[in-house]
Amino acid sequence: MMRDEKGMMTPELRAEIDAILTASGNDGSKLVGILLDIQDIIPMHYIPEEVAYYLAEKLNVKVSNVYDVISFYASLYDRPRGQYPIQMCESIVCGVNDNGFVFATLQEMLGIGLNEATADGKYYLECVPCFGACDVAPAVRVNGKVYGHLNSREKIEAMLAELV
């Protein structure tokens, strides 16, 4: 299924969004969960402006309310990220288990800095607070899946190899 890279609303995307809205009973009080579900199906994992306006109309809430929610929650994004946003834990438990090695190695391997995407839009690097994987620190999380014990170059390579 092809969608415009800029996040324009295609008929397919509209149908998928409508299905998410129907499943949640078009209930504006479920806005947080609805936005998360939609962000999951958008290839670059963010909420495009057009989608935000569409939601406001369908759920009968103000656009400013939609953006209040998007900008408040750290897991909601209003800018394109990548197909595989790699979330690196920056909290203390991964910190004392040398997450600096993970940051440096990923930046070097992918040739990008923090909050940047590779030229093909496939990988994106970001730092996030603790996601509760302290038992396998240092860890990263990609599209909901946790990869832990990233204490060697080989393990980081293996993690990247899984993202296809």
Partner: protein, 413 residues
């Protein structure tokens, strides 16, 4: 591991978490069946007799909370299960949801019966989105078997439904009023109190918020309260899940009887410190918890003993940091967390976190003066007293404890 116990974790790996039939086959829902023959006040009393304190961090007397929630007059009430465990180094609730979702549900249904609530909401952090299918399936199967829905188990008027809501990466939403704002579909900014959520919470209804671990205790206590009471010293009965991580050899979640020493937890259960290094500091209860040097090792893990040692149980996290990390680097990383997570609504927390970050930078660079150190303490104490919610009030616990236990970190050069 012989030193751990299996009261809360008794069902782990005993059944397929996607099958309610298997849960029933190992004795699931017997506590609920007993509960519906009891008066709600008696249920609250049994919990109180086990001295259970809320496991989210505030350690509020759980029996008392249930009793108070019962006495609210509003005919409509809600139960909220707080599964937003966002404290760094805390991952015990994740383990409970992953390994025994039906036990959690059973606890929530008993809570609903006791407090005469119509709806229960599980608010789970986005970071645990991989556990959503487990809970959605549990709720669906419980509905099919008549453990949720109308006239549950044939009790006339016992109508109760459980809903799953997701957080979206906001630590502050672990705070009760922010949590209910978030379930209502809004940004999770804490409300002014009063009114307290027990009187006026989610959708302005009386709301009883309980942590995953607290609710996971309920079925076990109704079935085997005496077993629970057989653990721990007389003034701190029962068992507790601790999540131990950091520079230890075997990080993980362990169920311990209260009264086990911190040394036993770290060295016997968690396998000691990586590379047998010395401990720089231990933080209890997550990022908002206090820190202590290794002298705390022989303290028994109970509410009072930890308090006496200047720390606390909090979320049940035990973070071990070895000598490779300096106190100031530890504080800087912790501060980065709170600077990120402050919602920015009230001035003490918003401005305080900013200025503490700047002052810590000076301490790290060694360019601080005596008046900087004084100011650091003043701001931290002001945040503690004047912030609107628990986030700002507890954000500087580690800093204040560090100033007490590690004064050399702040010495003016």
């Amino acid at each position: 591991m012989t030193k751990t116990v299996t009261f809360m974790t008794r069902n782990f790996n005993k059944y397929d978490v996607m099958s309610i039939d298997e849960y029933i086959a190992i004795g699931g829902f017997t506590a609920l069946k007993r509960a519906i023959t009891m008066d709600g006040e008696d249920i609250a009393r049994e919990i109180a007799a086990c001295q259970v304190k809320g496991r989210g961090g505030a350690a509020y007397d759980m029996g008392k909370k249930w009793s108070q929630a019962r006495s609210e007059k509003n005919p409509e009430k809600v139960i909220v299960c707080n599964a937003d465990e966002g404290e760094p180094c805390t991952f015990k609730d994740r383990t409970l949801i992953q390994n025994d979702p039906f036990n959690l549900l059973e606890g929530m249904i008993i809570a609903g019966y006791t407090m005469k609530a119509q709806n229960g909401y599980i608010y789970m952090r986005e970071e645990y989105s991989h556990l959503r299918p487990i809970l959605l399936n549990a709720i669906k199967q419980a509905n099919e078997k008549g453990y949720l829905g109308k006239n549950i188990l044939g009790v006339e008027g016992f109508d109760y439904q459980i809903h799953l809501y997701s957080g979206a990466g906001a630590y502050v939403c672990g705070e009760g009023t922010a949590l209910v704002e978030s379930i209502e579909g809004k940004a999770g900014r804490p409300r002014m109190k009063p009114p307290y959520i027990k009187q006026c919470g989610l959708y302005n209804l009386p709301t009883c918020v309980q942590n995953v671990e607290s609710l996971s205790l309920v079925a076990g206590i109704l079935n085997n309260g005496d077993t629970y009471k057989s653990y721990g010293p007389a003034d701190c009965l029962g068992t507790k899940l601790v999540s131990v991580a950091g520079n230890v050899n075997r990080p993980g979640v362990y169920e311990i009887p209260f009264g086990m020493t911190v040394r036993e937890i770290i060295y016997d259960l968690a396998g000691g410190v990586q590379g047998d290094r010395d401990i720089r500091l231990i933080q209890f209860g997550g990022a908002s918890g206090k820190i202590a040097p290794a002298s705390v090792l022989d303290t028994p893990y109970t509410y009072d003993d930890l308090k006496g040692a200047g720390v606390g149980v909090g979320s049940g996290a035990i973070l071990v940091v070895d000598e490779r990390t300096s106190v100031i680097d530890f504080l800087t990383t912790t501060q980065q967390f709170f600077s990120h997570e402050s919602c920015g609504q009230c001035a003490p927390c918003r401005e305080g976190n900013l200025h503490i970050k700047l002052l810590l930078q000076k301490v790290k660079a060694g360019t601080h003066t005596a008046s900087d150190v004084k100011l650091l303490k003043q701001i931290a104490e002001t945040m503690m007293i004047t912030s609107l919610c628990g986030l700002g009030q507890a954000a500087q616990s580690a800093l204040l404890a560090a100033m007490k236990h590690f004064p050399q970190t702040f010495e003016v050069k």
